[in-house]
């Protein structure tokens, strides 16, 4: 029961304005047939969608809040509600067969009541035909259907889909609150800051904290970056000896590339006197480096590090992506020495 309460609270806590907005829409019967909820991982997209479902189905509303305890609420939370259906990518994508299956399920379960809610996680991974098929289905004015498409970024979605949904951008969670939460769980503040730059998703954060991964990663990349930015080509060796062990799979590889990118960002932030940086522990070192380097070079470093994650998604080999980047950075700083 404790968990269930937490869930209803999370939507309210993370996105109070959005919850209020949906409340008003439900009260005035303005709920629309399809919403696209956008925002970074862990921002509360699914919490909001489930909250709306509970708000619609709950048989024991507390004021305008779902109780989180009744039979309807419990079934929604556990993903067992026949009229609240969740789909997520099956492998790399959400396929048209999944949507067909879902349609079939719905025509069967029609007896349960007219109201239906879909929650589609990582909706950007729908194939074009899956998305079109789904939206046409939703648009048919049979029964009352509300679909929630969840995606990190609106630009990842097909324009035809975007135009058929109402877009709701979730506000980023206040960083400080999350950092405080993490420090209360005995994570060092400097690490907490780095973690929140990588993700807002608490389960992802947990994975990164496990076995001291983030600690080791910070250490290894710190060494790598400092070496590379002195134009010292031994940074190339660091990739094999220090970085590779941390890059167990695609998830960690992506995080490593993000961590590298954030170093480039810190240099630029410091160059232009911005207060907040990611690598607080390295502030002095980075400040010095930023002072000694001109803007053009710093931008060149950013140009090397920013596209790495996209290169990885193009099925390039992680190690060679990082090694190439290392050489480029070394070269940028080698020229400086002459």
């Amino acid at each position: 029961m404790e968990d269930l309460k937490n869930l209803t609270n999370q939507a309210v806590e993370k996105q109070p304005e959005i919850v209020k907005r949906f409340n008003e829409m439900i009260d005035s019967q303005h709920l629309s047939h399809a919403y696209l909820l956008t925002g970074a991982g862990g921002i509360g997209k699914k919490d909001v969608a489930q909250w709306v479902a509970m708000r619609l189905f709950c048989i024991d509303l507390q004021g305008s809040m779902p109780c989180g305890e009744c039979e309807e609420c419990t079934r929604i939370i556990s993903g067992q509600h026949p009229d609240v259906v969740e789909i997520a990518p099956d492998g790399q994508s959400i396929k048209v067969e999944q949507v067909r299956f879902l349609k079939a399920e719905f025509s069967k379960s029609g007896v349960e009541g007219a109201r239906k809610v879909f929650i589609i996680e990582q909706a950007n991974k729908m194939t074009t035909s899956a998305a079109n098929s789904l939206l046409k289905f939703i648009e048919e004015p049979s029964g009352e259907v509300t679909a929630f498409l969840l995606a990190e970024n609106r630009s990842l979605m097909l324009p035809t889909i975007v135009s058929r949904t109402e877009i709701i951008e979730l506000k980023p969670l206040p960083k400080d609150r999350l950092i405080k939460e993490l420090t209360e769980q005995n994570i060092a503040e400097t690490d907490a800051r780095i973690l929140t730059r990588l993700t807002n998703d608490t389960s992802e954060i947990q994975t990164l904290v496990d076995n001291n991964w983030i600690l080791d990663a910070h250490k290894a990349l710190e060494k790598w970056f400092i070496t590379a930015t002195t134009g010292d080509i031994t940074a190339f060796v660091d990739v094999q000896t220090r970085v590779m062990a941390l890059a167990k799979d695609r998830f960690y590889q992506e995080k490593i590339l993000d961590l590298m990118m954030l170093y480039a960002m810190d240099l630029l932030e410091l160059k232009f006197d911005q207060e907040t940086i990611t690598y607080e522990a390295n502030r002095r070192q980075l400040q010095e480096l930023a002072d000694q380097t001109n803007v053009r070079q710093l931008l060149a470093v950013a140009d090397v590090l920013l596209p790495l994650k996209h290169q990885l998604s193009q099925n390039l080999n992680f190690q060679s992506v990082v090694e190439k980047a290392t050489i480029k950075i070394c070269n940028i700083f080698k020229m400086r020495g002459r």
């Binding site: 303005h30 609106r154 994650k309």
Partner: protein, 581 residues
């Protein structure tokens, strides 16, 4: 009793209800009046421009017995049944979900039978570009031998994906993007009908955010209404569209134009903290900059387009930048927008964007003395740049005097002497050079060398002077590396975007294909080249020749003489100006 979305309730029921498609509706009405309808139509155009609505109106009109001026009556049994989607003879097919050959074959078989209730069977195939090849072939067979009393209306947002054999058998209508003014007017009409209060500024924002789709405009309007107790307020319009508050946007742009990077970054953080979508921010910036460009050309036009709502800040901004700068900034915006599509950290890209936009180099240096607004570092940098230039020119003159027999001594030595020169020195842009070297071939280089003189002849006198002793040292099918004998000419060329653009455009004219032009100094070239060869395992790539080494270049004395003269011409005045400080 679910809420009916505005765009469904207000879906046009006759041609005259349609927004912004006058040519299309007039032509269709004429065809109906003169009974010269075709058996297959292709409706193309961006999303939300009314293709499906027009198809349904047409289906009604062609079947309505009370047709008046080409419009359906919307009262008779047939019209009503079509509106409600219950008439069996009007069949809507979504190619996106029915893309199988079987379904189209099914159409083929069924199309043979005469309509049962109406005069014409009308097939409306939406998103027709999604059909598989097999399905297209089946459809083609039907279109080749059209059954009597059957009409096909194919609708698509992507006509280029439709086989020409299909297109040639249809009558094509291109639906236009709806202008902000048109969707503004339509919203006003609907809101007046519904008796809902509205703020005009809010409607302008919605019209802009809808990007040419009427459906988009109405669906945004819906949200704004639902969030504002049956009222359309500016705040809610900003909230729902995710548009950046105009004041913040103006503040940001002004800081960019004034090259106040730190302040611009702070404003950016403020914008991001509000949860604004990065793509939307870039779109907004591009829109403003395009309008600024346009405004510099034709103020009247911009007035009209922006619904006569030009802010004071806008006109001030227009005076702050030149057209060339705006073009460059729009380029930067476009390229970052592309890169941002793949990221989960849009904020990082926006920071880089902000720095790039606000750090652009201007020609200010030569036209006016540094002002108090420049920071010390910048002044320092200029000073050292000047001293470096002077030294370089001296060096050049010396070199000419004692014409060397050996090219090595003809080139300026790496300079350690100029204080602060280290800061100024531009490194070779390896990130741009390497991709060219990766695909470099001897043949491409030869081609480039052959047309080099022609290329130089296309430049202006000043530009030619700048490029005078440069030459191509490596080339691929997409790019060329140009080596400069003199560092200061190299520095000058690197900063001269106009020159680069000119070179690239002229190369395109000469060769018919696009080349990137990248610079390097002769002095750095051997190092760049060997660095590249070391890091890329070329031993296995036999088919690619090594980029040419460049030992042979000994500039002729008279050429140098000219170069010196030109160089002094070029940089002398700048020297004087800055000395004035």
């Amino acid at each position: 009793m679910s809420y009916q979305a505005l765009y469904r309730v207000w879906r046009p029921q006759k041609f005259d209800d349609m927004v912004g498609q006058d040519v299309v509706t007039r032509t269709l009405k004429n065809a109906l009046i003169t009974e010269q309808t075709s058996h297959a139509y292709l409706f193309t155009g961006p999303r939300g421009t009314g293709k499906t609505s027009a198809a349904k109106i047409f289906a009604k009109a062609v079947n309505c017995h009370y047709l008046k001026d080409g419009e359906p009556c919307n009262e008779c049994v047939t019209c009503k049944a079509i509106t409600e989607g219950t008439l069996n003879d009007v069949i809507e097919i979504d190619a996106a979900s029915n893309n199988g050959v079987e379904e189209i074959r099914d159409i083929r078989d069924k199309a043979k039978y005469a309509p049962t209730e109406a005069d014409y069977k009308v097939y409306i195939v939406d998103e027709v570009h999604m059909l598989s090849t097999g399905a297209f072939n089946a459809l083609l067979k039907t279109l080749e031998e059209p059954p009597a009393n059957v009409i096909f209306i194919l609708a698509t947002t992507e006509p280029q994906k439709i086989p020409l054999t299909i297109i040639s058998r249809t009558q094509r209508f291109d639906f236009k993007r709806i202008t902000p003014a048109q969707s503004y007017d339509r919203m006003v009409y609907i809101l007046d009908q519904k008796g809902i209060q509205y703020d005009q500024k809010a409607l302008a924002i919605i019209a802009k955010a809808a990007e040419g789709g009427m459906r988009d405009a109405l669906s945004i309007l819906d949200q704004v209404i639902s969030f504002g107790n049956e009222e359309v307020t500016l705040d809610n319009a900003l909230l729902v569209t995710g548009s950046v508050n105009q004041t913040l946007l103006d503040q940001y742009l002004t800081q960019i134009f004034k090259q106040e990077t730190s302040a611009a970054l702070e404003t950016l953080h403020q914008i991001l903290d509000e949860g604004k979508d990065g793509q939307r921010l870039i779109e907004d910036l591009i829109t403003v900059q395009r309008n600024l460009l346009l405004y510099q050309e034709d103020p009247q036009l911009v007035q009209e387009q922006s619904l006569n709502d030009l802010s004071e800040a806008f006109t001030e901004e227009a005076a702050m930048v030149t057209g060339v700068e705006l073009y460059q900034m729009i380029d930067t915006l476009n390229s970052i927008q592309q890169q941002m599509r793949f990221t989960t950290h849009p904020d990082v890209y926006l920071e880089v964007l902000t720095i790039k936009l606000s750090q652009r180099k201007t020609a200010k240096v030569s036209t006016e003395a540094p002002t108090g607004s420049m920071d010390n570092q910048e002044v320092e940098q200029l000073r050292s740049e000047v001293s470096q230039l002077k030294q370089a020119i001296q060096k050049l003159q010396q070199n000419v005097k004692n014409t060397p027999s050996n090219s090595q001594s003809a080139q300026p030595k790496p300079k350690k002497k100029a204080i602060g020169a280290k800061q100024v020195k531009t490194p070779a842009n390896l990130t741009k050079i390497y991709p060219i070297l990766e695909n470099a071939t001897k043949a491409s280089l030869n081609t480039m060398q052959e047309l080099w003189r022609d290329l130089m002849d296309m430049l202006s006198v000043t530009e030619r002077a700048l490029m005078h002793v440069s030459k191509p040292v490596a080339a691929s099918k997409e790019g060329v590396v140009v080596a400069f004998n003199y560092d200061f000419l190299f520095e000058k060329a690197v900063d001269n975007e106009v020159l680069r653009t000119e070179l690239q455009q002229n190369l395109a004219k000469l060769t018919g294909s696009d080349f990137k032009v990248v610079y390097v100094t002769v002095e750095e070239w051997p190092e760049v080249r060997s660095g590249f060869l070391n890091t890329h395992h070329f031993d296995k790539n036999q088919e690619k020749s090594e980029p040419e080494a460049s030992e042979q270049s000994t500039p002729k004395a008279d050429e140098d003489n000219q170069a010196v003269k030109k160089a002094v011409e070029l940089f002398g005045s700048e020297n004087v100006n800055i000395k004035n400080d």
